[in-house]
Amino acid sequence: MTVLTIAGASLREAWNRRLVLALVIVSVVFLALYLYGAQLLNSRLVERAAHVGARGGGVALARQQMELFGLYIVDFLASFMAIFAGVGAIAGDLENHSLHLVLAKPVRRWQVVAGKALGSVLVSVVYTTALAAGLLLGSRLVLGVLPPGVVTGVLLMDLGVLALSALTLLASTVMPTLTAGVAMVMAYGLAWTGGVLHALGELLNIDVLATLGRDTRLLVPSDALWKAGSYFLQPPAMRAQEGPNPLFGVTAPDPAFLIYAGAYLVAVFLLAGLAFQRRDL
């Protein structure tokens, strides 16, 4: 019950601090821009295809690529939302002493971490799913495309954003707010760089680079999970035409890695609880 009370307060805080309003506004602006651009590009593609007498397959592929790029931006926005919404969850409340009021009551520390984690999971999953759904629906209306594997793809996107949420919560239990924010942006950058290195290593047949890039996913699996999700969000024809790609996954995700990612999520949340349990306030 205490966990739900704390999670409820976190959600009310997100609502009342206008985080939700800011997210809605930014998301609507993003979707409007994306769809407007997609519509312009689509009409230009159709015109050109007609002009050169191209077959419809190339236009369809271009539309699907445009949609996948839109989903990449969704993942990017959701990742940064998870970082910046969660970075003060514990650290901020400690800095302004409001958590001292909470912990001077018969509340256990793991309950605080669990409540904050629950609030953070809900915000991350709802936001990522809603924004992805908005983009997919808009693309369906404007471009007339809907990728296969939507459910699996979006679930894996959610998992990637949750990995960042969990790491952010851990950072927030052991670092001041600003430091945790900087550390998390760097962690996101590390994961992204690992993904690029992996693709370059495969493209240029440099095993060391490919392995180094791939193994960064063990530290921060967000980028690898996006790539796993993006694999399911592409039709097979599109994947077949692509070589190693720094932004999208072109090979089926390794089931062992997906199990690792699930365990990683649980372990990081537990570690956050443990770290907070041992911390002097």
């Binding site: 009021l101 001077a104 009551k105 509340v107 256990r108 002097d280």
Partner: protein, 331 residues
């Protein structure tokens, strides 16, 4: 519910807290009885907040142990009947007053209906009736402090820790808090009060501890000068060279600056004998003033802060149950 604690409400036994090589609290011994209003004083950085946090289980002691309400430090069950208002706490502006109290009441594990009733009572008691539905961003500093006190009272605590509870209040607010503390004392609630307003402490507390550099330097009655008139200020001319020897048995010289002398009497009624001996020896006695040493004097002496008079301070005479403690000497 926590069973009534038979022993002291707070029992700290040699508490130590080190941060790296710095020792914030060094062997703190403290016992506070049920129903006491206890003042915990000290300069900034003396270890007061660290001590309170150890007692509340927010900070783990590096050494020693203790109990609060009969339970080991850090036991969440002890906190079921503990109220706490830290200094400089942030009140989220989006909460309403009632919403804030309901949230904290729920954290005590109280049923919703009970929380509503108690929150209403607490708002009324702290003069915030009618403002419970207003967002906290519209509250003044003083109102927020009152609300903080209201949340500290929600659990009908047996022990309440208050850190500078009147710092943002106007004189009327301070008087209200004083009355509230009297009321809590009458109800048998123990109050652990941390304040720099020594006049407030003198008026409200039964006993005080003065800490400096992590040590308890004084533990005793709030008015340490039950023998206050044992100090005597003189303005004396033509004092004989052997004046100090003349006074043996009735007073001793604490300090002398020109014609101004401060004596410590060896008996509460020794002042006339001092005057008689000095005058008989040919001294001209212009003034003889009994000096009352108040809490501020004691605080300044013990904490090394510059006092009104720069002469080195001497230990206080025994006063009731007062104990004047040297660093490292357990109380």
């Amino acid at each position: 519910m926590t069973a009534p604690a038979p022993g002291p409400v707070i029992d700290a036994r040699g508490l130590v807290k080190c941060y790296g090589r710095r020792t914030a609290v060094d062997g703190l011994e403290l016992r506070v009885a049920a129903g006491e209003v206890f003042g915990f004083l000290g300069p900034n950085g003396a270890g007061k907040s660290t001590t309170v946090r150890m007692l509340l289980g927010l900070t783990r002691p590096s050494g020693g142990d203790g109990e609060v309400l009969g339970r080991a430090l850090g036991d969440p069950e002890a906190r079921r009947r503990v109220g706490y208002l830290p200094e400089n706490v942030h009140f989220p502006g989006w909460f309403t007053g009632m919403g804030f109290l309901r949230y904290h009441g729920a954290l005590y594990g109280l049923p919703a209906s009970e929380v509503r009733a108690r929150a209403g009572e607490a708002l009324e008691r702290l003069g915030l009736a009618g403002r419970g539905d207003d967002p906290l961003r519209g509250y003044s500093h003083g109102m927020l402090q009152r609300l903080g006190l209201a949340q500290a009272l929600l659990a009908r605590p047996r022990l309440i820790f208050l850190d500078e509870p009147t710092s943002a209040l106007d004189p009327r607010g301070r008087r209200d808090v004083r009355l509230l503390l009297d009321e809590l004392r009458a109800q048998g609630t123990t109050v652990f009060l941390n304040s720099h307003l020594l006049s407030e402490v003198e008026r409200t507390c039964d006993r005080v501890a003065i800490v400096a550099d992590g040590h308890v330097r004084y533990l005793g009655p709030t008015r340490p000068d039950t023998g206050a008139e044992r100090l005597l200020d003189l303005r004396l001319e033509d004092a004989p060279p052997d004046a100090e020897r003349l006074l043996v048995g009735v007073a001793r010289l604490v300090r002398r600056a020109g014609v101004r002398w401060r004596l410590e009497l060896e008996g509460a009624d020794a002042a006339p004998e001092v005057a008689r001996r000095l005058v008989a020896a040919g001294a001209r006695l212009h003034e003889l003033t009994p000096v009352r040493r108040d809490l501020e004097d004691l605080f300044l002496e013990l904490t090394g802060a510059p006092a009104a008079e720069p002469e080195p301070a001497e230990p206080l005479p025994d006063a009731g149950e007062a104990q004047l403690l040297e660093p490292g000497v357990p109380s």
